[in-house]
Symmetry: C2
């Protein structure tokens, strides 16, 4: 199976959601991307449809915005 991508920015909401998602889908099925530490990936996330973090990009290209940690604009700042 193609991996999901979990985008986060290190906020408490993100870390909690990250643990939940890894528990649910299994660590080998998710790539974790920290947009706060790797800002070069923000535009890639935006193109995929990510509006806020934490968010999970599914293997079929859907974006699941999970709870609400921060908008992408806040991550850029």
């Amino acid at each position: 199976m193609k991996k999901s991508v979990f985008y986060h920015a290190g906020c408490p909401v993100c870390v909690s959601a990250e643990h939940d998602i890894i528990n649910l889908v299994g660590p080998s099925n998710v790539e974790i991307v920290h947009l706060g530490e790797d800002k070069s990936k923000i535009s890639q996330a935006e193109k995929a449809g990510v509006k806020s973090v934490p968010a999970l990009l599914t293997p079929n290209g859907h974006v699941l915005h999970i709870n609400f940690g921060a908008s992408l604009d806040a991550v850029k700042g």
Copy 2:
């Protein structure tokens, strides 16, 4: 593994998220609850921390609010 519970209300956002969640965690790991059709479960969802649908209650009691379909107040109405 204890099952997750996916709460929804039949809205388009809910249906899309339901498919994604089932694909990600497997149909046998999720119980689906339609709060629009089974309003008696709304108070149970609220007690679990659900504020809006679609939402996923994880086996360890965390609530992941996914995208945004409707508030629970809208579902009650």
